[in-house]
């Protein structure tokens, strides 16, 4: 292996990149653009849910009840329903996401010591938001009940008794902001796009144009070619990662709590793994269109869906949970979250690092086998 030859190829590839100014600026600017859109757009925090109230009782008690619900910023009353027929329209046309129906005999039953049911109709299409609404409504009703009961009991001279004082403490992300959780995942995703997709495309392009045959007859060895070709993309990807961290810090307050060197080190390892996927894909595809489709299918999509980036892996069916291991992004995201959010050191993540290295080794082995076989034909 000759360093000179690797450098020569890397230089050539850099020239390609710089000459194609449009491509370079796309590669450097779009990830930041994506982060900004993403950071502001993606938000699972449930706030200001539009609530429509259908108050058939219309008494002081019923008003007190729904006002206690909107005292938090979960709900805002967007509409008062006047008739039965309106109920369906309100949900169908998304005038409100949630309807509270207070029955006619609400206060009468309440004061005559009978239990009453109020109905909540929620638009369940977005199951996640609906679950949160459900949790909140149950808790709010329970606290309204105990407040009212205790208040009256106290007037009668019975001391109120609350058995538990529950204090949830949220570590690492006090305000439970979704952005903070998602930005590390976004870094992984963008690196996958740059490393896997562009590497495979740039290698296949040489095939498509036939220049790879010219390289084959030159004294350049396969390993030198690969190292030289992927080097510029690794540089681009690393600068992407740095950009994202800076923008994430400036705009979204995402601070790296752990060691920056450890972060850089693990990022390089992940890039090594991703480029080996890119190389592998380039050996099995003959055109850029195919390379693109395969890399979306086997790397981009899994790293969005199966990596735990957005959807928690624990909630998936067992079979899919096993399948999640095919995406190295899963392990890198674990590492990123550990370093960026929790600030832990190498002792908590060494197993993930080993996995990433193994993954890369196996893929490179297959890729070189396939490549050599083709060359001999």
């Amino acid at each position: 292996m000759s360093i000179n030859r690797i450098l020569a190829i890397a230089k050539k590839e850099f020239k390609h990149l710089f000459r194609d100014f449009r491509m370079l600026s796309i590669l450097l600017l779009f990830p930041v653009f994506l982060l900004i859109v993403f950071g502001y757009a993606v938000n699972f925090d449930v706030r200001n849910i539009k609530l429509a109230v259908y108050d058939q009782n219309n008494t002081e008690l019923s008003r007190e009840f729904y006002n206690s619900l909107i005292s938090s910023d979960y709900f805002q009353i967007s509409h008062f329903i006047k008739s039965d027929s309106e109920v369906k329209v309100v949900l169908d046309e998304k005038i409100a996401q949630c309807i509270l129906i207070v029955p006619k005999d609400f206060s009468q039953k309440f004061y005559s010591k009978e239990n009453v049911k109020v109905q909540f109709l929620t638009d369940g299409v977005d199951g996640n938001t609906a679950t949160i609404i459900q949790n909140y409504v149950n808790a709010a009703t329970a606290s309204f009940n105990s407040q009212k009961t205790n208040h009256i009991l106290e007037q009668k001279g019975v001391k109120s008794y609350i058995p538990f004082d529950f204090q949830p403490i949220f570590w690492f992300n006090k305000d439970l902001l979704t952005t903070r959780f998602l930005i590390p995942g976004l870094i992984a995703m963008i690196l996958v796009i740059v490393a896997v997709v562009s590497v495979s495309l740039s290698l296949v392009r040489e095939k498509e144009r036939g220049t790879i045959e010219q390289i084959n007859v030159s004294p350049i060895k396969i390993l030198e070619l690969l190292l030289g070709k992927t080097f510029p993309y690794i540089v681009v990807a690393l600068s992407n990662a740095i950009f994202i961290l800076i923008v994430g810090y400036l705009l979204f307050d995402v601070e790296v709590k752990g060691n920056l060197f450890l972060l850089a080190f693990t990022t390089i390892i992940f890039l090594f793994t991703s480029t080996s996927i890119g190389i592998f894909i380039s050996t099995i595809s003959d055109s850029q269109q195919i390379a693109f489709t395969i890399s979306t299918m086997v790397s981009l999509l899994p790293s969005v869906i199966l990596s735990g980036f957005i959807f928690p892996i624990e909630s998936m069916p067992t079979l899919i949970q096993i399948l999640t291991n095919i995406t190295p992004a899963k392990f890198f995201i674990k590492i990123l979250r550990a370093i960026i959010l929790r600030g832990v050191g190498i002792e908590a993540i060494w197993d993930q690092i080993i996995y990433l290295l193994l993954f890369a080794g196996i893929l490179l082995m297959f890729a070189s086998k396939i490549y050599l076989k083709k060359e001999n034909i």
Partner: protein, 376 residues
Amino acid sequence: MKIILNIIKKEFSQFKRDPKMFGIVLIAPVVQLLFLGYAATMDVNNVHILFLDQDKTETSRNFIERFESSGFFSIDYYAENYDELTEQINKANVLVGFVIPKDFSKNINKNVTVKLQAIFDGSDGNTASIAAGYITKIISEYSQNIVMDYREKKGLKVLPVGQISTEVRTWYNPYLKTRYFMVPAIVGLLLSIITLILTSLAVVKEKEIGTLEQIIVTPIKPFQLIIGKLVPFIILGFISVILVITMMNILFGIPVRGSIIFLLFASFFYILSTLGLGLFVSTISKTQQQAMMIAIFGIMMPMVYLSGFAFPLENMPQILQYVSYLIPLRYFITIIRGVVLKGIGFTDLWQETTILFLMGILILLFSSLRFRKKLD
């Protein structure tokens, strides 16, 4: 007309010659559907929890038992001290560490308020807050039992007022599965990938190889070329829509409640705009690599984020909500969710349908004009 047919024929024989590509285009939607359908769930139903039980009495064990039987938790560890709890949370082995204090059962018997502490790994804010909701519910049910006993002791069997209970009914998606929310929207996503990205790649490929110039010197008119290039992708798009709708029903038991014909019409309107965008991308890029990056980073991703596909639009800042009105996928997803899940039709969705149609025509027209200009 004949010329257009010939171009279409040529495109199809290109497909045929490249069976890998054709196979991928057909298999891809099914694989994506499987992935998204099974994996894309935000339901929180398996919270890993650790208990630090400092009380170790029957009462505390009973209390822990309530977590187990709720079905939402899996109790993975019992810690002996705070260090162990911290370590497991740092390693992300558990989401919650729950501390039961020493005097738990003693204080309950004495009717003194017990402080309960739960430490959450808050990194995933959404999961953490849902899990906190489950815990609150378990605690409040348990405390209700205790309060009843307490009142009985005080001779207050009957409460002075009735109790309000809530009956939460969810429409359209009674089991609150994220799957119902995601899967129909995948149709929109797939259509975008096939029609937008593949179109732009197909056109740019001719540019890159130089065959586009050969076409320009033939008597083929630009609009004939455009139509001929686009029709195969429209057909591919429709095949994948039908494929996905069928699979949706077979695999996930999600039938189309509304009119399929209306859905296909809406898909066609949507395809108009994605084809237009694909064509537009091809006019501004010289190589396939560029086209793909612009299509993914510049159009697909923002479209996915801002369409309400996975992330609720209501939670976004006002400005982004306005921007989302410019995104065709937004209207298409509203339509497809409406038709598939709610069974509503054109009467309720005429606004979205009209906007989608107009957008499609406008985008396609604009891009075609630009494409023609580039050819000249």
